[in-house]
């Protein structure tokens, strides 16, 4: 039997059933409440660790299961269905962007200190790249780290950092050589409580409200040289780029889960809701709009799976990944908007879930590199 578009096998689908049960029983019932509180319980990290979800692609030596990226892809899709982009983002940041670079480039000692406890859910991680004046333009970052003896002195600030408020460590992009452009970048692991490192306010957001997003400040913050990722200066740029593909795929996959969830919700809604003596599903205009949504969703899914297949096959599929991220997240926004419209007045009410999908979806074409950046990458890949 062909499972999951010739991409996923029977075991992946069995794992999907487990994740779906967890999402249905342990996340969905509280999604609204967490969004309202603008926070989800920290225990979710330990719960996810217990279920083995935080170490799916990491070696057993650090407490992972080494099951592979396709299992994580299943997890990301199903998390997209939980109805809270913030929960999916906070948990997702832990196993995609915060620990990804540690696993790929960290020294053995750094993996033991940060990766292993993150897989166990004991330490929450964050990735700190974006600054008030630079994001995808990583060569333009301004946070500096000046070597002094066996420490780096870090100065600068970061913003929009997912998990920033409660992170126990931040994998921080810094300039170790401000004159060297992209070759002067390094990643430095900064622990919570290091003198000179302070967390600013928790930022208020349009969507993804259950996730904590913070500004981080560094003022003469002394970080041991041992925390330099990989132990070699100037490798920050390739280290950041090395994990961007997975980050972008993860956003595309989350959008797929979210679209699937919205389509299920809207199908149920138009069958139940009646107007002018018949169910909404009886009106051709409604039927065709939903058919168009399903078609757009399927196209986004095929493109994302294409990029995913190339990625897990070991290709550096930068154009396809950028296309998938752009198409999936933008389609998700449109579908959210259409679904909200088909809800009529109810769509505008906070008590219906669709407004949250609509707000959460809007982050997709912005986070992890905007659609405009994706388009520019694609253009570059075309040799333009």
């Amino acid at each position: 039997m062909l499972h999951g578009y010739g991409l996923y096998e029977e075991e992946h689908e069995a794992f999907r059933r487990t994740v779906r049960a967890v999402v249905e029983k342990e996340l969905k019932p509280s999604a609204s409440q967490w969004e309202e509180q603008e926070e989800f319980p920290r225990e979710l990290f330990t719960r996810f660790a217990e279920l083995g979800f935080l170490g799916l692609k990491y070696p057993e030596a650090y407490g992972g299961t080494e099951a592979g990226e396709l299992y994580e892809a299943v997890l990301l899709e199903e998390l997209g269905r939980c109805g809270s982009g913030g929960v999916a983002a906070g948990l997702g940041a832990q196993f995609t962007i915060a620990t990804g670079p540690l696993h790929k480039y960290g020294t053995e000692e750094q993996k033991q200190r940060f990766l292993a406890p993150a897989i166990r859910g004991e330490k929450v991680g964050a990735l700190g790249i974006t600054e008030p004046d630079a994001g995808s333009d990583v060569a333009g970052l301004r946070t500096t780290a000046r070597r002094e003896g066996d420490c780096y002195i870090v100065n600068g600030s970061k913003t929009y950092i997912t998990n920033g408020v409660r992170a126990d460590f931040v994998v921080l992009a810094v300039k170790t050589n401000p004159e060297a452009g992209r070759k002067g970048l390094s990643l430095l692991v900064v622990e919570k409580g290091t003198p000179g490192f302070s967390v600013g306010r928790k930022l208020k957001k349009l969507g993804w409200r259950a996730s904590d997003t913070a500004e981080l400040f560094f003022e003469d913050c002394r970080v041991p040289v041992a925390n330099l990722l990989g132990g070699v200066e100037g490798q920050g740029f390739p280290q950041i780029m090395g994990n961007f593909q997975w980050e972008r795929l993860s956003l595309a996959l989350g959008a797929l889960g979210s679209m699937e969830e919205m389509l299920e919700v809207i199908l149920a809604h138009v069958r139940e809701r009646r107007a002018f003596g018949q169910a909404l599903s009886g009106f051709q205009v409604v039927r065709h709009r939903i058919a168009d949504m399903a078609t757009a969703f399927e196209a986004a899914r095929q493109l994302t799976y294409h990029a995913l297949r190339l990625h897990v096959g070991g290709e550096y599929a930068i154009a396809q990944t950028s296309m998938a991220k752009k198409v999936a997240t933008e389609t998700c926004c449109r579908i959210a908007d259409e679904c909200l419209q088909l809800h009529g007045g109810a769509g505008y009410m906070m008590e219906y879930d669709i407004q949250r999908h609509w707000r959460d979806a809007r982050l997709g074409p912005i986070g992890g590199g905007t659609s405009e950046i994706m388009t520019e990458i694609i253009a570059k890949q075309l040799g333009l």
Binding site: E10, E11, A14, F15, R17, T18, G52, L56, A67, Y71
Partner: protein, 285 residues
């Protein structure tokens, strides 16, 4: 020179457990309780297109209880299912939860409760478990008969609707201790069961048949390592012919019909009106 053979056994010598128990559990494939069931216009069957299937939730509770008993006492959980090739999905689910082996009775035609119990009887005689744990009923036709028939066919004791004394939210539940208590001599099992006016505790001689109620335990999720291991666990294929059971149904389904739609309720202004309506309209008090 003589080579001294090295044992292939693990270096750790297994500790003696209180008593090894062999437990047979069932995994019926049923319609997903979340799906909406529609009856075909001619009443011959339900509409099966697009339906999702899963393990009968009561059976899943049985699998969980079997696993807890084996974790405590040592032994083996064997899972059995009857049906076409598709029931392997439910068997793999139970194997992924932790059952050691599976038995698949390959049969695609209609079956009634006597047919199912007859097949299970032969599987039990072949496997010789100490205990059979199955759901009190399956959520598709809700008959609640197979466990009782099976005990009768085997001539074994039975305890139906096994439940638990403490809450499913309790520390004891969270530490995954079994609710069924096997006696120290390994010859009896204590079962708390739900009855109309509360809970009753029974003691049964082993071997015995136990059926599970909803409040016996909270089944675990199939973990990823469990799913991986399930791949290589054996599924033995049997057929009614091999087992020598005539499964020609004695019960025939004549027609299926949806229950009448519930009428909308009404709101009453006060208790007096409610009592009046219950007494004079509904005539229930």
């Amino acid at each position: 020179m003589v080579d001294v053979p090295v044992s292939c056994r693990s270096r750790e010598y297994p500790l003696f457990k209180e008593k090894d128990v062999k437990i047979l559990v069932t995994a019926k494939r049923v319609e997903d309780p979340e799906s909406k069931i529609k009856v075909k216009p001619d009443g011959s069957d339900i509409v099966r297109e697009g339906l999702k299937y899963k393990i009968n939730p009561f059976d899943e509770i049985g699998v969980e209880e079997g696993l807890r008993l084996v974790a405590k006492h040592g032994g083996e959980v064997v899972v059995v299912s009857i049906g076409g090739k598709e029931v392997q999905e439910q068997l793999r689910h139970a194997l992924a939860m932790g059952a050691q082996r599976a038995v698949w009775v390959n049969h695609t035609g209609a079956l009634d409760q006597m047919g199912v119990a007859g097949l299970l009887q032969k599987v039990v005689e072949k496997e010789k478990p100490d205990l059979v744990v199955l759901g009190k009923q399956s959520i598709d036709d809700d008959q609640n008969q197979v466990g009782q028939y099976l005990a009768e066919y085997l001539g074994w004791g039975q305890a139906t609707f096994a439940s638990k004394v403490e809450s499913l939210e309790s520390e004891q539940e969270k530490s995954k201790t079994p609710a069924l208590q096997v006696g120290a001599d390994g010859k009896t099992v204590q079962v708390v069961r739900e009855v109309d006016n509360g809970l009753a505790t029974l003691e049964c001689q082993l071997p015995a048949v136990v059926t599970t109620d909803l409040r016996l335990n909270l089944p675990r999720y199939a973990s990823l390592p469990g799913i991986m291991k399930a791949k290589s666990k054996p599924i033995e294929e049997l057929t009614p012919e091999k087992l020598g059971v005539d499964v020609t149904p004695k019960v025939q389904v004549v027609k299926l019909a949806s229950p009448p739609e519930r009428k909308a309720g009404i709101k009453v202004p006060d208790v007096a009106t409610l009592v009046d309506k219950l007494r004079n309209e509904a005539k229930v008090v």
